[in-house]
């Protein structure tokens, strides 16, 4: 392997340090909470009951974000691909379709999440049967993330060298072959980073889902930390969220880096 790649590896190790630190810190907190009761504020922060609630909320957040990201990819990926291929001068130009898609995506992206959350409650009920709880929060999270993912995918695919697409066209590749064999594989590292950004964003959004009783870390922070004036709960929730974001980002960076052949 050539020299620049080795350098790249050192840089990425530095980039992953916060993530590694995050995982270690989470493990230490978890261990402290389960085996001991420490005195003073430290005791409060590591009390077993708080930890039980934190862990339950943590997994709810993971579930909400994980499923939403997965569903948003399923919906947003094809949209993003179409946004690229139908644009003027691209492989299947269709100005009308492009305009419609682009407008719909922009409308989706311009609605504040907290409004969207409330506005689509009837739709949420239709799909999951209820508008309260973790499952119900997944619906607005997904709906909000689809247009976001579409734009992320669009920008990742637009970064693919035009010349490479042209080379494939010159070889007689069909639009479908170009999408599957050129655009998506060439954009893969950027797409992985895009999924990471989406996941981090949804972790933030999922905290707002607490406002409709969606569960998760945000819910915990609002109901216990804010409404019951428990500063220690608020603090721990924020710490766990910070660590979670660090870990997701580090894993995403690592995956993108190891897929990158450039």
């Amino acid at each position: 392997m050539s020299q620049p790649r080795l350098n790249g590896k050192t840089n990425s190790l530095q980039r992953f340090l916060p993530g590694i630190f995050g995982i270690l810190a989470l493990a230490v907190f978890y261990w402290l909470g389960s085996v001991t009761e420490l005195p003073g504020i430290l005791g409060n922060l590591t009390a077993p009951l708080l930890w039980k609630m934190l862990m339950a909320s943590f997994w709810e957040t993971m579930l909400m974000v994980g499923i939403s990201v997965a569903l948003a990819m399923v919906g947003g990926l094809p949209l993003g691909v179409l946004l690229v291929t139908t644009s003027p001068g691209n492989i299947t130009p269709n100005p009308a379709a492009y305009k419609v898609l682009s407008t719909v995506v922009n409308i989706g992206r311009s609605i504040p999440f907290i409004i969207l959350l409330v506005a689509i409650i009837p739709f949420t009920r239709l799909i999951v049967g209820t508008s309260i709880g973790t499952a119900a929060a997944i619906v607005p999270l997904t709906v909000a993330a689809i247009p976001f993912v579409a734009r992320i995918v669009e920008s990742a695919l637009r970064d693919v060298d035009r010349g490479v697409v042209e080379a494939a066209q010159a070889m007689g590749a069909s639009p479908w072959q170009i999408i599957i064999k050129v655009l998506l594989p060439e954009a893969l590292p950027t797409l992985v980073l895009g999924v990471t950004i989406t996941a981090v964003n949804l972790i933030g959004y999922s905290a707002m889902a607490g406002a409709v009783g969606g569960g998760g870390l945000g819910d915990l922070a609002i109901r216990y930390g804010y409404q019951r004036f428990r500063g220690d709960v608020m603090l721990m929730t924020v710490i766990v969220l910070v660590l979670l974001v660090e870990i997701v980002q580090a894993v995403g960076d690592w995956a993108a880096e190891s897929l990158n052949r450039k």
């Binding site: 392997m1 050539s2 060298d161 010349g163 490479v164 042209e166 080379a167 494939a168 066209q169 010159a170 070889m171 007689g172 590749a173 069909s174 072959q177 064999k181 050129v182 594989p185 060439e186 893969l188 052949r261 450039k262």
Partner: protein, 353 residues
């Protein structure tokens, strides 16, 4: 000689932007390219050469005009028919355009995948192609790990995968250093000879044309201003555009001091003349200067000259000051013309001493 026309371009025009004040890239271009030739299209940037070569595989759609490859009219095809035809036209690019996410072997296999060749068959073909272009040891490397010359070799292997009839080279050596350019050109020539593949290349470097092309067309402002065999164009450039390109490769301008040289005669019956002789082919190998001296009693003073080779044919110019008494010069010049040497009299006004 059954010379076969492979590519026929008829009245091709293309305007970018709106028809009234857009940029005219191609203006009624017609060309024929024979099978097995290496055909060069040379022009400055913006002359339309890139648009022209991209029309041949319809990466660019011409506004009017037709292109035939063999008996098929490419410009009449679309959709899957066009894609099928394209798979028989190889193309290489200035910036190589390799897939960065695929290894060298996977890049070369790419056109085979598109054409639906089975995996096992593709594997053998890839190995064969990598051997042909001399990079079999790089099969598992990624493009980012290769040098420019190696990348272009991958590009060539990829372009040849489906046994095309034509290879289009879009400024294929313009991003390479002079030594690598020579190597890649040698490879293209080798492929042309071994496979009988017709090669169309566009370039802005006359060196490239001189090195490997059989025929050349000069494009300027979207029009073909001159075309012919490379030797013809080098020997008898008809247009300013052609002369401009040739100048870069062969010295055809005279230094000022030779142009301003005064021709001094020592007695009234003596004549002095400054002439430029152009040789092509066999006459370049003949001892004409010594013949002048021996047969016609002419004094010849060589002031400038060069001999070059174009496709193994010697080609050269010689600037001489000729001096003879009693009309000896006229018979000497007649002799040169008879030998097939082109004569340009640069100056014949002599000054008495």
């Amino acid at each position: 000689m059954g010379v076969k026309r492979l590519i026929r371009i008829e009245n091709l025009s293309k305007i970018f932007g709106n028809p009234v004040n857009g940029v005219v890239a191609l203006d009624n271009v017609s060309l024929t390219i024979e099978k097995g030739q290496i055909f060069g299209i040379i022009g400055l940037s913006g002359a339309g050469k890139s648009t022209l070569i991209r029309c041949i595989n319809m990466l660019e759609k011409p506004d009017t005009g037709r292109i035939f490859i063999g008996s098929k009219e490419i410009t009449a095809l679309s959709g899957s028919q066009l894609r099928k035809e394209r798979s028989k036209i190889g193309m290489i690019f200035q910036h190589f355009n390799l897939l960065s996410s695929r290894t060298v072997a996977e890049n070369v296999a790419f056109p085979l995948e598109i054409a639906g060749v089975s995996r096992a068959e593709a594997k053998d073909r890839v190995n064969e192609l990598l051997r042909l272009v001399g990079i079999e040891d790089k099969a598992d490397s990624y493009p980012a790990q290769l040098s420019g010359g190696q990348k272009q070799r991958v590009g060539i292997a990829r372009a040849l995968a489906n046994n095309p009839e034509v290879l289009l080279c879009d400024e294929a050596t313009s991003a390479l250093d002079p030594q690598t350019t020579k190597n890649i050109l040698a490879l293209l020539q080798d492929i042309n000879r071994r496979l009988g593949l017709t090669i169309v290349l566009i370039t802005h470097e006359m060196d490239v044309v001189k090195e490997i092309c059989d025929s050349v067309a000069i494009i300027d402002n979207g029009q073909i201003v001159e075309k012919g065999t490379v030797l013809e164009v080098f020997a008898h450039p008809q247009t300013e555009a052609a002369r401009r390109f040739i100048k870069g490769v062969i010295q055809i301008d005279l230094p000022e001091e030779i142009k301003n040289r005064s021709l001094i005669t020592s007695e009234p019956s003596e004549k002095v003349m400054l002439v430029r002789l152009s040789f092509i082919g066999e006459s370049a190998g003949e001892p004409v200067v010594s013949a002048l001296v021996r047969k016609f009693d002419v004094d010849a003073n060589i002031l400038a000259g060069n001999i070059d080779h174009i496709k193994e044919v010697p080609f050269g110019t010689l600037v001489l000051e000729l001096r003879a008494k009693n009309g000896g010069l006229d018979t000497a010049l007649a002799y040169l013309i008879e030998r097939g040497i082109e004569i340009e009299v640069l100056k014949d006004e002599s000054t008495p001493a």
